[in-house]
């Protein structure tokens, strides 16, 4: 029972193959990993090692070819598209390398958007506003509410993306190379922000990166090589 609660994510014998024409690429091979609530974990490895593929599987935007993923007690292979979408909405927050904000919405609207998709909050404007302002304040953009993404710097955009990922209070936040498009100082600020939220709210963060200076700051580092886990270490 304790194991079930602490294991927020369980990846069991997961393989993922892609077909490129006549060639089948084994992007992930027999991956086994368990991730607990509140972890601040990075998935490292060279390009093509399978980092993004693993994040996509954990994020339920892709399905494994073999094996099973259990996210927050739900085996995803048994879930319909609608249920997977609901799982993503309620349990997982995404931070993308290229920010992926909705260009026609301003900062406030972008952050508010996931809440509008939730049945319980869709019609509760007051609570939505409180939440959006809380997280925008947390990422330091409370004074940029009406700015469109095109009017923000890369670092600011990523902060908006973090606020959007956090606003629905997910148990898991997945970030695929969140600092790749940022300069080192801004990248460090973003990592500091993620660490702060992890510490304060016990949100589980899983992010991929090549950057060794960032890897060192994770509590746990899982290194992938050619689709295998080559190491899985807790950092001091």
């Amino acid at each position: 029972m304790t194991n079930l609660i602490s294991n927020l994510i369980s990846v069991e014998n997961v393989c993922k193959d892609y077909k490129l024409g006549a060639v089948t690429v084994n992007a992930l091979k027999e991956i086994n990993i368990k991730i607990s609530i509140g972890e601040f974990m990075t998935i490292a490895g060279p390009s093509g090692s399978g980092k993004t593929t693993l994040l996509n599987l954990i994020g339920c935007v892709d399905v494994p070819t073999e094996g099973e993923l259990v996210i927050d007690g739900k085996g995803i292979s048994r879930l319909s598209d609608k249920e997977l979408t609901e799982l993503r909405l309620n349990t997982i927050g995404f931070i993308f390398q290229t920010f992926n904000l909705i260009p026609v919405l301003n900062v406030y609207d972008n952050v508010e958007f996931p809440l509008l998709l939730k049945n319980d909050l869709s019609k509760n404007k007051k609570e939505r506003k409180e939440r959006v302002m809380y997280f925008l304040d947390k990422v330091g953009l409370a004074d940029h509410l009406n700015h469109r993404p095109s009017e923000l710097s890369g670092g600011q955009r990523q902060r908006v993306a973090i606020a959007r990922a956090l606003v629905s209070k997910p148990k898991i936040v997945l970030a695929d190379e969140p600092t790749a498009n940022l300069d080192s100082e801004t990248g460090q600020n973003i990592i500091d922000l993620m660490k702060k939220i992890n510490r304060e709210d016990h949100t589980t963060f899983i992010f991929s990166t090549h950057d060794t200076s960032i890897i060192k700051q994770a509590q746990r580092v899982v290194v992938l090589k050619d689709g295998h886990i080559s190491s899985d270490e807790m950092m001091k």
Partner: protein, 446 residues
Amino acid sequence: MFKYMFKINLSKIFLISYRNIIKNRARSAILAIAILLVTFILTLVMAITAGVDDNLTKTASTLMSGDLNVGGFYKISSSSAAPAVTEYTKITSLIMNDPNIKSEISKIVDRIRGYGRLISDETSMDMPLWGVDLRNENYLSKILKAHEGDFDRVIDKGNMAIFEYHARKLKVKVGDVVTLSVPTQRNTNNTKDVKVVAILKDIGFLSQFSVFLNSADLRDVYQMKENVTGVIMIYLKNLNKLKDVENKVNKLLTDNNYKLMEKDQRPFFLKFDKVSSEPWRGQKIDITTWEEEISFLRWIIKIFNALTMIFTVILLVIIAFGIMNAVMIAIKERTIEIGTLRAIGMQKIMVIKMFLLEAFLLSATASILGITLGAVVALFLNILHIPIMSEAFRSFLLSNELILSVRIDNILLSFFIVVIVTMLGAIYPSYRASKLKPIVAINHID
């Protein structure tokens, strides 16, 4: 699925749709102009068809028929047939003494009607004849405009008004005398000379079927008594009550032992052969509506409706493909956005909804503008009383001038047709967008 659609707040979806239209203003403007033009043209075409229909209804119910007609045939031998109603004043009294019927009537008149030959010095032609008493039907002179002469002189016996069409065919002018020849009930022909006192401006195709004489002259040639007429024409306050009043008149006359003819939805002059071949003698009453009396002209409206439909379908197919193409381009440009929205928890149905809403906003706005413009132009053209120069078009449009009628039902129909077609055009690409796998969409590269 639909429950989900209405549970969630659509305000931001609306905002995204609206702002994307503005963001892609060049593409949106081209498509909006296309939709606007289609609805504009559609509104004009529908206004022309409605104008022809209205004009046909108005002129037909003035020249050839009441809203409801109590006519019939009188046969003194089995092989004869005269379009006459004997002791018509009794029928008129019966109708006007029935409070349920009287309350629906705005006007009741009678006319002698016949079918005969007009013979000029040069030629002759067969046609329906109308014997009118202008003291009772003074409204006719407001509708029928004289090209030459004076229509009001038909109030005097021995005078006749013909249309330009007849004047050309018979090669006569005002002041000329023509001979009227009609078959009587005794299978002989009676003749009478009448003077042309007015040549009326043609009012399209219907002109060919109307020549106006003083009712006394027609009564003379048919050797009718004073208490005999051709038809009792009833005009109603509300045309929607036509069927109801028809049934009431039918019952009233049946209850009062009048023999009624079987329902035959043709004008009276096409019933001669049938009636002549039937073995009965005496009087039979024929109750007809204005639509039945001009049923021989309905083909014109059918052709107009068919042309409008073909034209509409062509325009709508163009619009459907246009919007389909525009939505496909929008989806291609926003594939990553779709993937992101799906990843953060947007259901497939909402993706469809988002693009349909965008198509709706564009088509609804453009079609409202197109319809408004079309209606204003139609009303303006109507005020100008633009003459139709071609005789062929005059005949076909049943009018000397372009008549456009803007009907609220046509406006609503245009709006809904255009909006529904654009939505249908947007459904397929929107559905395809909703089927995109989030992982594929997020990693999309243009």
